[in-house]
């Protein structure tokens, strides 16, 4: 906590570096920045528990100003929590130790749109939807369409290694970046090499991509963009069971048919979510497919994919429901459709190779539905980011009537997360595929990395010897 004389001196230095207009200790700012989009701090505040708040909120306007803030933080050994859009679900931006909250949204300039190489260079604080609107004015698009596009920033896309709904064809956020600008924890401003594919040493930028603000602050990125596809073709099919549906998806990927979207809802999600949001009353496993690009190629890809599905007894639902999903794909995330308090919930998604996916899915489903039966925990899942070697499962638990007591609720939430994460690890899965680790899963990083963990910790300690960068996140020791 920044208190007394030391606190005044820090404020003096921050105001000197950024100007008084960009340094706030207002109670309203401390309150609002206490919660990101994760359930834990939201629940805490909902139960009228005083939240862990930042001591000071700063809005730097340049990498140089960020460098000054980090130097000040090092001088006084104060935590610094980078804040992009605040849309993370793992508590990655929750200021649990107070300190300086570094809101990056003033870094909001699109620096260059290059129509020769199809790249855009944007500052880290540009909101995804704003970037997309600007690109659309040039008849271009950034092929990263996460549900959080209206909220997340370019820096946040990369810091948490996000995925979007067309990642199966175009890749995750980290696959779409050529280079980054960043400020290291000691205030040094760096720029990584201009292209990512080379044989000139290790991928330096990958130390920051996925580091969730623990290794430095991403301030800008050069990203691959695209011309909008000539066409998008849609189709929805319904399988009697999930096994056939997963096998169809696997075969479509192994055949390299390049679907932009393969979105497979398990029976529970089909019966609940699809019914509630899309008003479709279906029983079975509902699969949405989208292929894009030149009309004749996309059409041929869809035709082969349909043959694969039909060989596995899929029922053709035609294009309309898939188009309807596409048009309303973000509606799931608006209130009242989105999950929210007073429910207890968690997106415990993971990724694994095809050979493990069914075993992993059923193990997690059994765990939630049986081991937490006393809380009538529900389990729903869809499979939405596919790779040539495997697939992620976007699964969630939901408890309609969680404990009233905040401490008890948090302990139950943590128990479920721990159990499901260990189940994922035991079945060849990762702790997470695209939401990140943050505060929620940090304690399990040692189990994920095993003997490799000390190497990661050593890198962190070398870059951030004072431990100022987003402490308590990603499992790094204080």
């Amino acid at each position: 906590m920044l208190e007394g004389l030391a606190g005044e001196m820090v404020l003096t230095e921050l105001i000197d570096a950024l100007g008084a207009a960009h340094v706030s200790t207002r109670p309203t700012d401390k309150l609002i920045y206490a919660t990101d989009w994760s359930w834990m701090p939201q629940m805490w505040l909902d139960r009228a528990m005083p939240p862990p708040s930042p001591d000071v909120v700063v809005h730097p306007g340049s990498p140089e100003e960020i460098g000054r803030v980090l130097q000040i933080a090092n001088s006084y050994k104060i935590p610094v929590v980078p804040w992009g859009g605040g849309s993370g679900t793992q508590g990655g931006a929750a200021p649990i130790y107070g300190g300086i909250l570094l809101d990056l949204k003033r870094l909001d300039r699109i620096l260059d749109i290059n129509t020769t190489s199809l790249t855009v260079t944007a500052q880290a604080g540009v909101i995804g939807a704003v970037l997309e609107k600007a690109l659309n004015e040039h008849h271009l698009t950034f092929p990263h369409y996460p549900a959080s596009a209206n909220a997340a920033t370019v820096g946040g896309y990369l810091a948490a290694r996000g995925s979007g709904v067309i990642s199966t064809k175009y890749g995750k956020a980290e696959d779409l970046v050529l280079s980054i600008d960043a400020v290291l924890p000691d205030g040094t401003i760096i720029r990584t090499p201009p292209v990512p594919s080379h044989a000139s040493g290790p991928m330096l930028m990958n130390l920051l991509i996925g580091s969730e603000g623990t290794m430095g602050v991403i301030t800008a990125a050069t990203l691959q963009i695209e011309r909008p596809p000539e066409t998008r073709v849609f189709r929805a099919v319904l399988f009697d069971d999930l096994h056939q549906a997963l096998d169809a998806g696997r075969e479509i990927m192994l055949a390299r048919l390049q679907p932009a979207v393969l979105r497979l809802y398990d029976e529970g999600s089909t019966a609940s979510l699809i019914k509630r949001v899309l008003n479709l009353d279906l029983q079975g496993a509902y699969l949405i497919m989208v292929f894009d690009g030149y009309e004749e190629i996309a059409g041929a890809q869809l035709a082969r994919a349909m043959r694969i599905c039909e060989e596995r007894t899929a029922k053709d639902l035609g294009p309309e429901t898939a188009e309807h999903w596409w048009d309303h794909r973000y509606d799931f995330y608006y209130p009242p459709h989105s999950l929210g308090l007073p429910l207890m919930y968690g997106t415990i998604e993971t990724v694994c190779k095809f050979e493990n996916i069914e075993r992993l899915y059923y193990a997690k489903k059994r765990l939630i539905e049986e081991d937490f039966a006393e809380w009538q925990a529900r389990y729903i899942a869809h499979f939405s980011h596919w790779f040539p070697w495997g697939v992620m499962v976007y699964d969630r638990f939901i408890i309609d009537s969680p404990p009233e007591d905040a401490h008890e609720a948090l302990q139950l939430h943590n128990r479920i997360w721990t159990a499901t994460a260990r189940t994922a690890l035991a079945n060849g899965g990762m702790l997470n595929e695209h939401h990140g680790i943050g505060l929620k899963l940090g304690r399990l990083m040692r189990e994920q990395y095993g003997t490799a963990w000390p190497a990661l910790e050593a890198i962190k300690h070398t870059l951030d010897p004072r431990g100022i960068m987003n402490p308590g996140k990603l499992g790094f020791r204080l």
Partner: protein, 369 residues
């Protein structure tokens, strides 16, 4: 509806970030506290006793521009703007409103407007009820009298019998948005009395704010607006007159015209197209566009009572629109709303700002009746 009625909206929206990127105030301040979810979370936290309506918290609450963009860009149409205004009404009930609001209420109660004694109502014609009431309001009378003259000229050119309405009285929106609902009801009843005395069947408003008020705010504060009276805003009326060739204009080609959508445009369905068609008819070409436009059109600062309560934010919003216009290559910025045109002109040192209605009046072909 009261703040208590809107509790589900505060609770549901306090952690929703889906519209923050269109919020004009957040884009200037970059503070989460002054964004849609920030206001919802603030109000929800006051309801939970986590924070009180201190001077700082109330000031934050009054930094919402009440532009409607969050609701217009919400997939589920959450009525957060009305919920925020209801929270202000609760703050007023507690006597915790800002001093600027207290002062404004005194003026509105005393004079019906913030400016001082103005002739209030228009008396009816001896010869019978006019067809149209041209709703001007005190703000336009004081700040944009030339627009009123231009609008009257256009109405006369189209052969429309009309009388001016509410020349000395502020619109209901101003007290409503600041939480002064009792005052808003008084002004609404006075306006309805005036309309009734004149016997008009159609009201043409010079500003989208007033069209929005008649359509949406009267019901919100529990005042019934007569359903048989048609309300249309001026640029929509002008567009219809041009389309029906009841008015004709001489196109005057100009380079570098950029159009600013009036505050509240996203709240009035299909209201973005009409002024663009009028402007195209006047200049012979489609106007240049701001980055934030039509359903995402940002206000210029002449909204939400900002001129009286948040002067600095009002100026910064104007500066942001002017910067966008310059980025779009504007040699001239055109607005169809007199409040917007006046406010933008006051902050545009090097960029001419023209009101669409005045421009149209100058280019009318034929004799003005």
């Amino acid at each position: 509806m009261t703040a208590r009625d809107y509790t589900p909206i505060y609770n549901g929206d306090r952690y929703c970030l889906m519209c923050r990127h269109v919020c004009p105030v957040e884009r200037i301040t970059r503070r989460e506290a002054t964004s849609p979810h920030g206001w919802a979370l603030l109000i929800a936290s006051v309801q939970r006793g986590l924070i009180a309506w201190t001077e700082e918290a109330v000031d934050t609450l009054y930094q919402c521009a009440d532009c409607g963009l969050c609701q217009a860009n919400c997939a589920t149409g959450r009525p957060l703007p009305a919920a925020i205004v209801a929270a202000r009404a609760a703050v007023v009930e507690q006597g915790a409103m800002p001093d600027s609001v207290t002062r404004l209420e005194k003026s509105l109660r005393l004079w019906g407007n913030p400016y001082g004694p103005l002739t209030a109502d228009t008396e009816p014609n001896a010869g019978g009820a006019p067809e149209i009431g041209l709703y001007a309001g005190a703000a336009t009378r004081v700040g944009s009298p030339r627009t009123i003259t231009a609008a009257q000229a256009l109405l006369r050119a189209a052969g429309r019998d009309h009388r001016l309405l509410s020349m000395g009285r502020s619109g209901v929106y101003l007290p409503y948005t600041l939480g002064l609902w009792d005052t808003a009801r008084v002004l609404a009843e006075q306006t309805l009395d005036e309309i009734g005395r004149l016997g008009v069947r159609e009201i043409i408003t010079l500003s989208k704010e007033d069209a929005h008020t008649f359509q949406h705010i009267y019901p919100e504060i529990g005042v019934t607006f007569p359903g048989e009276i048609r309300v249309v805003e001026f640029s929509a009326w002008l567009d219809a007159m041009l389309a029906g060739q009841e008015l004709r204009v001489q196109p005057h080609p100009r380079a570098g015209i950029v159009f600013h959508d009036a505050c509240h445009t996203p709240r009035l369905l299909d209201s973005a197209d009409a002024p663009r068609r009028v402007l195209a008819a006047l200049t012979g070409t489609a106007p240049g566009e701001l980055f934030w436009r039509e359903q995402q059109a940002s206000p210029c600062g002449a909204i939400g009572g900002f001129l009286f309560t948040q002067a600095e934010l009002a100026a910064r919003l104007a500066a942001a629109r002017i910067a966008e216009a310059q980025e779009a290559g504007a040699a001239m910025l055109v607005a169809d709303d007199p409040h917007c045109a006046a406010h933008l002109a006051a902050h545009a040192a090097d960029l001419p700002v023209v009101n669409l209605i005045e421009m149209a009046a100058q280019q009318i072909v034929g004799e003005i009746q």
